[in-house]
């Protein structure tokens, strides 16, 4: 029997965590692979829909739509910037890749929101649930993405759908955290007032807590979008196409031209999505209490309609009926 060595106590024993994880993954893969293959189905459905739409859309039409959307939600200056940035992406030859990346990001963000916002709401309502959820979120946010890349490939295979799944894992935490925080930060007396006027918990949530937490929730969504984009290079290691793959191939072949194009494309895409999503998070108060119908292109069209003299919209047959 060896004597215990105080200078190196860990020589005597090792907990084989790595082997356990490996065994567990193998066991799950052999027994439950079909479950994970089925999880892919809804993601695949939404991803291919969005991607087909984005890639099929003529670039100029897309830029036009993005311009109008940005004008509506964030104002004219942002709209000009968005159009210029998108035009630049096309000019440097990264348009189709950018559309693929955008499709992956939008799909990932969609799934992050539909799971993350309800989780955040639950956490805000229930202290116990928050206590359980918090370490899980810490885990998600700090574990290096390379660690789960291999098990994900074993369970889901390679390709864009797996790319969406790793992106969801990587980008889910902020939207959950900020939804929880946003709801908890709503002034206590505003919530109490709602209860005092007879509202149920659900009514208070919908009428008071969620509207007042909207800026925080939208910041969470914005952060989730940004994280999704930054995942695109890592995700390209499991054969995800798009801008990330341009960068990865560029690094692999020491092709500075390709890497720069891809990198610039990611930055520009990120800025476009960031500006638009931040615009969505602005409250009515930031817009000087103007309703969305009064600003942007919708407002412009409505003002134009109001300019048309009312007499011309009156049916011409009306006087004849009186005869």
């Amino acid at each position: 029997m060896e004597t215990f060595d105080f200078s190196d106590p860990f020589q005597m024993f090792t907990i084989p965590v790595g082997e356990w994880a490996s065994e567990a993954t193998k066991w799950i893969v052999t027994n439950f692979r079909y479950v994970f293959q089925n999880i892919k189905l809804p993601i695949d459905f939404i991803l291919s829909g969005i991607e087909a739409g984005l890639r099929g859309c003529p670039p100029l039409v897309f830029i036009g739509c993005a311009f109008l959307l940005a004008w509506q939600v964030a104002g004219m200056r942002t709209a000009v910037f968005v159009a210029a940035a998108l035009f630049a992406i096309g000019s440097i030859g990264a348009w189709p890749e950018a559309m693929t990346t955008l499709a992956i990001v939008l799909t990932a963000v969609f799934f992050c929101c539909v799971t993350g916002i309800p989780l955040g709401i639950l956490a805000a309502q229930n202290d116990l649930f928050e206590k359980v959820l918090r370490p899980a979120l810490d885990f998600l946010q700090t574990i290096p993405s390379f660690v789960y890349l291999v098990p994900i490939v074993m369970l889901f295979g390679i390709g864009n759908v797996s790319g969406v799944i790793v992106t969801i894992i990587y980008a889910l935490a902020p939207v959950v955290r900020l939804t929880n925080l946003g709801i908890r930060q709503v002034r206590e007396d505003l919530v109490e007032a709602s209860t005092a006027f007879g509202a149920s918990r659900l009514q208070t949530l919908l009428n008071v807590q969620l509207p007042l937490a909207r800026p925080a929730i939208m910041t969470g969504v914005n952060q989730t979008i940004m994280l999704s984009l930054s995942m695109s290079v890592i995700a390209s290691m499991i054969s995800v196409t798009g801008l990330g793959q341009m960068v990865l191939r560029g690094i692999g072949r020491l092709d500075i031209a390709l890497a720069t194009t891809g990198g610039l494309g990611i930055v520009l895409t990120a800025m476009v999505i960031d500006r638009i999503s931040q615009g969505l998070g602005r409250s009515a108060r930031d817009r000087a209490h103007k309703g969305w119908k009064e600003t942007g292109p919708v407002g412009a069209v409505r003002r134009l309609m109001a300019l048309i003299p009312a007499s011309r919209t009156v049916p011409a047959r009306l006087p004849q009926q009186e005869e």
Partner: protein
């Protein structure tokens, strides 16, 4: 006598196990401090029983931490009592299911908050009409009532504006409009004017008194300001450490404070201005009434002390006090001086 709101033996102990803590307090007769240190529970309201008449403006006065706001929140059950019974209009609120409780809060009771608590994302009309919205009243009707309420608070034309565009005084008028929108029987007011500056506060008190005399709502008005309580309250309850120390009219509280605590409170007030002739006079017995000749000069029984002083100074002889056309007492200069000496003790 019809009691509109009744509280009987209401206790509220804050902490993880209020019921057990209450048992311990009852068995060992612990005070507030030892409850906090030995049981790690905080006494919010301690054995409060109150009865409030229909249409009465009832003030609950106390310093911060005295449990007055906590007690108020028991009426519409924003806070559940640890023990005791609360009934509103004869119905025990503990028996109410969710639907009945929602109706009690949205229809029967209106509430006004210390920091206004208007929702910043809703326009004024949507703030005012919230209780109606919860009751499921149609939008058009809601808008009509909201406009009417805002007009009553002299805020017509502000329907589409938002709370952050208003001054504090205007915001609290919206708060009042919101509380009155569903025409409730009861108003709960939690220090509604204490966040406002003194001039606006006085102005709103006047408006509120005027409104309250017109609408005759049973009102529970919580305040930490004795002047406000004296000015507004038909009756006043003074609270300390969760207990009610004294309940009475403003004259009761000022002239006959129940203990040193209340006496300390009312000391700064000029007590003589609340004294009336019948509180100062020497009462006459039946025989005296029969034998004494009627004094030449008289004052009514509820004449103010100021009035009595002026009268005596003018006529320079004892005056009579008249109630229901009969002499009930006499006031001479010595009686008057004695009364003033007791009313305003030289500290």
């Amino acid at each position: 006598m019809e009691w509109h709101i009744e509280c009987e033996g209401v206790w509220k102990i804050f902490g993880p196990d209020g019921k057990t803590a209450l048992q311990a307090i009852r068995n060992q007769a612990l005070d507030k401090n030892s409850t906090k240190h030995r049981l790690n529970h905080i006494v919010g309201v301690a054995d409060v029983s109150l009865k409030i008449r229909r249409g009465e403006l009832f003030c609950i006065m106390g310093l911060s931490g005295s449990g007055k706001s906590t007690l108020l929140r028991h009426i519409n059950r924003l806070i559940e009592p640890t023990a005791g019974r609360i009934s509103v209009g004869g119905a025990d609120t503990a028996d109410m299911d969710k639907k009945a409780l929602s109706r009690l809060r949205s229809k029967t009771i209106g509430m006004v908050f210390q920091h206004m608590a208007l929702w910043p994302h809703r326009s004024l009309q949507d703030n005012v009409a919230y209780g109606l919205e919860i009751q499921g009243i149609a939008k058009k009707e809601r808008r009509r009532i909201a406009a009417e309420m805002l007009a009553m608070m002299k805020l017509d034309g502000w329907e589409e504006h938002y709370p952050d565009e208003l001054s504090g005084g205007m915001q609290q008028r919206v708060g009042l409009a919101r509380a009155l929108a569903s025409d409730p029987d009861i108003l709960l007011m939690d220090e509604p004017f204490s966040a406002l500056d003194p001039l606006i506060r006085r102005d709103l008190q006047t408006q509120f008194l005027d409104l309250s005399q017109r609408l005759h709502k049973t009102t529970l008005f919580v305040t930490h300001d004795l002047d406000e309580a004296i000015r507004l309250g038909d009756r006043i309850a003074i609270m300390r450490d969760g207990e009610i120390v004294q309940v009475g009219t403003r004259e009761d509280i000022i002239l006959n404070p129940a203990n040193d605590y209340v006496a300390d409170f009312v000391r700064p007030l000029a007590r003589s201005q609340f004294l009336k002739a019948d509180a100062v006079m020497n009462s006459l017995t039946e025989t005296e009434l029969a034998t004494n000749r009627r004094p030449e000069h008289c004052v009514p029984w509820d004449a103010s002390l100021q009035h009595v002083i002026e009268k005596i100074a003018a006529v320079r002889q004892p005056i009579g006090v008249v109630r229901d056309d009969a002499i009930v007492g006499l006031i001479d200069p010595y009686t008057l001086l004695g009364a003033l000496r007791t009313a305003e003790p030289i500290a």
